[in-house]
Symmetry: C2
Subunit: 581 residues, 2 copies
C-alpha cells in the first residue's frame, strides 16, 4: 500500500494515528537539530518532522539525501504542531517521521515548483509536466473539471442529450481553413477535422433529438494570434421547436447556474442589447458593461465651428472620463499616443477638461467657446473634475477606435475588476456583412442563420440592413459564445445561398446532405456554441486560455514538449500516396 | 410558442387542458367519420382525434393533406380515450384536435420510420438522420448518454479529474497505423491523431494529478473488420500511488455501479482468472463465463491407443455438451463442418455420445473401448445423455478452435443470454509476445507495461514466460478494456526497450519526452482504458457498436451520408505543400 491518507487530509483529530503518505518533496529545512520536510500531492501539503537524538539516525541520514521533487513513501505518527500554521488545512499537525522509502529520484527541476516560479514561458512549455505541478495550474485544471461537470449537470437536468458527432468529416471551403486528414483506404481523398459540429447538430434536430449538447474539440487551421489554439473546446448545443427567446432563457440559466455553483455569485437577469445599440453606445459588438462610459455623439454641437477635422469627419464622438480633469500634459500625451498606435489608427485625440472651477480647457480651444464646451459637457453629462475625450473620422472606424480608448480608460480607472462579472446578450446581429476583398456579402454568422421575417423583404434592396435571429453571449468584453435560429425551410435556404453568391450546384455540392435532410421534415430549431476554454479562463479571472489547457500549443501551433508536428516516414507517405513538394 | 407539452407527457390528470404540441406525423388512420393521427417527438407519441360533424371541417381537410413525417404544430383539448391503450404512457388520453399548422412538409421517407423498418443497411446509412428517428436507435443514444453521465458521476465521486489531452499529437511508428494531419504552418511536418492518450495520461501522473479520466475519441487507421470504427470512444483512466489491486477494485466498482444504476442488476464481486488458466480452461483470453463447459485435457487417456491423429497431436482436448447425446448424424456433421471452416481451421471433430443406457458411441470407436470412453466421461464429469466433443492438434491452435466450438455450443444450448452479465478480470498477461513476421518480441500491451518483479530475472532466459502487471476486463466473452501497472523507473524502462529491440536512439526519438519526464520524480502509476462504444452495445444487449454511434462510418471508413472522405482543392494541397502521387 502506497498510502493510508493523502497529503491534504490529516487534521488534529487524527493525532496519534500511524499513517503512510506518498508524494513529492516540496521543501527541506535542515536546522541542525530539527529537520522539516514538506510533502506534496494533488490534495495538499503535510509537514514531516525529524529530530536529532529522538528520530532514528538512519532516517535522518535518508532525509538529508533527498532532493526537491523526489517521490517518497513515508511512515510516521500524526502529532500536534508546536507552532501551528492557520493558512494550511493541515497546519495543526505534523508527522513524526519513522521511515522514508524513495519511490523515485528526481533531477533538479529546471525551474522552481512554486506559485511564483522562476521559469520562463518557453522552458515551462517544454517541461509542461513540471509546470502542471504548480498550484495555480492545478487549480485551473480543477476549475475546468468542475465547470465541465456542472455544465453537464445543468444541461442533463434540462433534458439535453450529449451525443458525440464524428471527428473525421468533410472539408468545406466556406469559413476558416480546415485541417485535413488523408485517407489511406480512399486514396487521393481527405477527411477534415470539424471546425464545429454545426451540420451534424442540425441533422440531429432533423432526426428529432430535440435537445443536443456536446463538450467537443474543434479545429481551425488559422494563423495563430496570441491566445488562439488550433484545437479548442466548445459547449455545443442545439434545440428544436424553439424561438430565440427559449434559447436565450435556457443558456442564461446555464450561465447563472455556473456562476452560482462555482463562484457563489448571483448574476442578475442578463440585459439584452441590440447589435446596433452596442455599436452606437460602445463601438463594439462585445461591450464590457462592468462600467458605463457610453459614447456621446457630437456632430450637431462640434461641426460647423471652423474645425476642419471635425467638419470633414463622418462622426464626432466621445466619452466622459470621470474625475480625470487633473490629467497632466504627459498623461494626455500618452492617451494620444495610445489612440495613434497603428493597431488603433486614430489621427489624434481632442480632450476637454471640465475644471473644478467650472471653466473648460480643451485642445481645440481655438474653435470652441466656453459656451460651446458647456453644451458638450451637458450632452456628456459631465461634472466639474471630469475629462471629455473626443475622436472623429469615418463612423465605423472611429467607433472601433473609441471603443479601445474606452477600455483603456476603464483599465486606468480600475473599472474592470476581474472579480466582477457583467454578462449580457447582444441580439439582432446583421445577417450579412460586406467583404471588400471578394466584393460580395458573406454570412456574418453562417449560411444557415435565419433572417428576421420582417426584414426578408430587404434582402434585395438593402441586404446590409437585414437583421438575423442571431445572438452573442458577452461577458466582461469577451465574446463567450454565439448562435442563431436556423433556417429550416428549404426555399428560404435557397434564397440565402443565392444572396451569398452560391450557385445551385455549389450549394448542392457543399451542403447537399443538409439540404436533402431538410426535405424530410426539419423542425424549427436553433442553437448556440460557447467557447469552453475562454469561459474557464474567465471564471479563473484570467485573459489567457493557455493556462487553462493541460497541454497547449505555442503560437506556431507546435507542442514543444513532445516536439510535434514532426516529419513522418516515407513508408507512411507512400501508403497515403502523398509526396511533399 | 411551439408547444406547451411534449408528446410523451400528457396523462389522464391533464384532462380538459388546452394544449399545444409539435412533432412528426407518425401515422394517420382515416376511418371516414373518425380520423386518428399519431404525433411523435423524442419523448413519446400522443394520439390526436378528429370527428366529422363535430370537428372543424377545415381542420379535417388539413389533416387529410398531411403525409408521414410532416412536422406540425397542433392545438386542442385533452380528452379521455374511449378505448385506452395500456402499452402507451399517454394511452389513457387523446387530443380533441382544434387546429393544425404545418411547420414543414416531408417527402415520403425512403424507408418506414418504425421499430422494424423496411430499409436496408446501405439506405439507412445514407439517410442516417431518418434512421435515427426510429425508437431503437433513439433508445441506444439515450442509453449512451446515460452511461456517460453515470460513468462521470462515479469517477467524479472517486476524485478523478477529467482532463482533456490534445488531439493533434505526434506520430509514433509503434503499434497500429496513425491518421496523420499535415501542418500548414510547419511545412513538411505532420501531426498524428491519438490512438490513445497513453503518454499524456502518464505525463499527468508525473505532473501529480493522481487520478485522471477522460471520455475521449481515439483514432486508428486499420483495415476495418466488421464492427471496427476508425474513430472510437474510450473511457481512459490513470491513477498514481496504486498497485494493481487498487485499480481492479476501483473499476470493478465502476462496472458494478453502472450495472446497478442503469440496469438495476447486482453484479457479484468479479472473479479473477489468470491468463494461463483462461487459455487452458477456455482457450481464450476473453472467456464467456456465463456458462461452464470448461476444457478437459485428454492426452493421458486418449494417446497411445493406436489413433494416429491423437498420437501425433500436441494436445487432445474436449468439452462436454450437456444433454446432447441425442444429436443426429446431421447435427454432428454440421458441428464438424463448423470446426472445419477456414476461419477456425480444425481438421476434424471426434464425438462421444454418452447414451442414456450408459453405453458410449463414438466416432473413434475403432480405437477406444467402452471402458476407455467411460474413463473419458469420468474426466469430463459427463452424465448419461451428454455429448463429448474432442479436438486435437498443436496446443495453442487447438485451444482456439475448441474455444470457437464452445461458444457455438453455448449459442445452440441457449447459454449466452444477452440479459445475463458475467464480468471478470483476466490477470497476469504475458509481458511479451513473439511476432513470427518480424522475428522479435513485441509488447503485448504496450512498452510501458511493468513486468511482475519476480519474473524480471527471466527476461533474458525465457522472455515469453515473463508475466506482466496487466489485466483485461471481460464481459460475456468480449474484451471491454484493459490496462496495466506502468514502469515508472527509468532503468527498468530502458531494459524493456532493449528487450523490445529498440536502440537507445530509437527509444529516445520516439519516447524521449516521456523518458525525460521520468527523470523528474515519476510516481508509481497504472491505468485502464475501457471501450465505450462496446460497453454501451453490451448494455444494450447487442454485438454491433454501429447501432450505438450517432454517425458511424461503413467498412471502408466512409461516411456515406456526407460522402466523406472526398477530394480537396488544389489550393488546399498547395497550401499544405503536398502532391498526390
Amino acid at each position: 500500500m502506497h498510502r493510508t491518507h493523502t497529503c491534504g487530509e490529516l487534521r488534529i483529530e487524527d493525532k496519534g494515528k500511524q499513517i503512510i503518505l506518498s508524494g513529492w518533496v516540496q521543501r527541506i529545512r535542515d536546522k541542525g537539530g530539527l529537520i522539516w520536510l514538506d510533502l506534496r500531492d494533488r490534495y495538499g501539503i503535510t509537514q514531516l518532522l525529524l529530530e536529532e537524538g529522538r528520530s532514528n539516525a538512519s532516517v535522518i541520514e535518508a532525509a538529508r539525501d533527498l532532493g526537491r521533487e523526489f517521490v517518497v513513501k513515508i511512515k510516521g505518527k500524526v502529532i500536534e504542531r508546536q507552532s501551528k500554521n492557520p493558512n494550511m488545512p493541515t497546519g495543526d499537525i505534523e508527522i513524526d517521521l519513522e521511515s522514508i522509502e524513495v519511490l523515485n529520484k528526481s533531477k533538479t527541476p529546471p525551474f522552481t515548483i512554486e506559485d511564483n516560479t522562476d521559469g520562463g514561458d518557453e522552458l515551462r512549455m517544454k517541461y509542461r509536466y513540471l509546470d502542471l505541478r504548480r498550484q495555480p495550474l492545478r487549480r485551473n485544471l480543477e476549475l475546468r473539471n468542475r465547470l465541465s461537470i456542472e455544465t453537464r449537470k445543468y444541461l442533463d437536468s434540462e433534458k439535453f442529450f450529449e451525443i458525440e458527432t464524428p471527428y473525421l468529416i468533410k472539408s468545406t471551403p466556406e469559413g476558416a481553413r480546415d485541417f485535413v486528414v488523408p485517407s489511406r483506404m480512399n486514396q487521393g481523398q481527405f477527411y477534415a477535422l470539424p471546425q464545429s459540429p454545426q451540420t451534424f447538430k442540425q441533422l440531429l434536430m432533423v432526426a428529432g433529438y430535440d435537445r443536443y449538447y456536446q463538450l467537443v474539440k474543434c479545429f481551425r487551421d488559422e494563423d495563430l494570434r496570441a491566445d488562439r489554439q488550433p484545437e479548442f473546446t466548445q459547449i455545443d448545443c442545439e434545440m428544436a421547436f424553439v424561438e430565440q427567446e427559449d434559447i436565450l432563457n435556457t443558456f442564461e440559466g446555464l450561465i447563472r447556474y455556473l456562476f452560482k455553483t462555482i463562484k457563489n455569485i448571483d448574476v442578475p437577469v442578463l440585459p439584452r442589447m441590440e447589435y446596433a445599440d452596442a455599436m452606437k453606445l460602445y463601438g463594439s459588438d462585445k461591450p464590457d458593461i462592468r462600467f458605463e462610459m457610453k459614447f456621446v455623439e457630437l456632430n450637431d454641437l462640434a461641426k460647423n465651428k471652423g474645425f476642419k477635422i471635425f467638419d470633414e469627419a463622418g462622426l464626432v464622438v466621445g466619452i466622459n472620463a470621470e474625475g480625470c480633469a487633473n490629467y497632466s500634459r504627459k498623461q494626455l500625451d500618452k492617451l494620444t499616443d495610445f489612440v495613434r498606435r497603428p493597431q488603433i489608427g486614430a489621427k489624434g485625440l481632442v480632450y476637454v477638461k471640465y475644471n473644478e472651477d467650472g471653466s473648460f480647457k480643451s485642445s481645440a480651444d481655438k474653435f470652441y467657446s466656453q459656451e460651446d464646451l458647456k453644451s458638450w459637457a451637458e450632452k456628456f453629462g459631465s461634472k466639474p473634475g471630469d475629462l471629455m475625450l473626443v475622436l472623429s473620422g469615418e463612423a465605423d472606424k472611429v467607433r472601433k477606435q473609441l471603443s479601445e480608448l474606452r477600455l483603456e480608460m476603464g483599465n486606468r480607472l480600475g473599472l474592470r475588476n476581474p472579480d466582477v462579472f457583467a454578462p449580457l446578450w447582444v441580439v439582432d446581429f446583421p445577417l450579412l456583412e460586406w467583404d471588400g476583398e471578394t466584393e460580395r456579402y458573406h454570412a456574418m454568422h453562417h449560411p444557415f442563420t435565419s433572417p428576421k421575417p420582417e426584414d426578408i423583404a430587404m434582402l434585395d434592396s438593402k441586404p446590409g440592413e437585414v437583421r438575423a435571429n442571431a445572438y452573442d453571449l458577452v461577458i466582461n468584453g469577451t465574446e463567450i459564445g454565439g448562435g442563431s435560429i436556423r433556417i429550416h425551410d428549404r426555399g428560404l435556404q435557397k434564397l440565402m445561398f443565392k444572396h451569398l453568391g452560391f450557385s445551385e450546384e455549389e450549394a448542392q455540392e457543399q451542403f447537399g446532405f443538409l439540404l436533402n435532410a431538410f426535405e424530410y421534415g426539419a423542425p424549427p430549431h436553433g442553437g448556440i456554441a460557447l467557447g469552453f476554454d475562454r469561459l474557464v479562463a474567465l471564471f479563473g479571472g484570467s485573459d489567457s486560455i493557455r493556462d487553462y489547457i493541460a497541454f497547449p500549443k505555442n503560437n506556431s501551433g507546435r507542442d514543444v514538449m513532445i516536439d510535434s508536428p514532426s516529419t513522418i516516414s516515407n513508408e507512411q507517405l507512400d501508403e497515403l500516396m502523398l509526396m511533399l513538394k
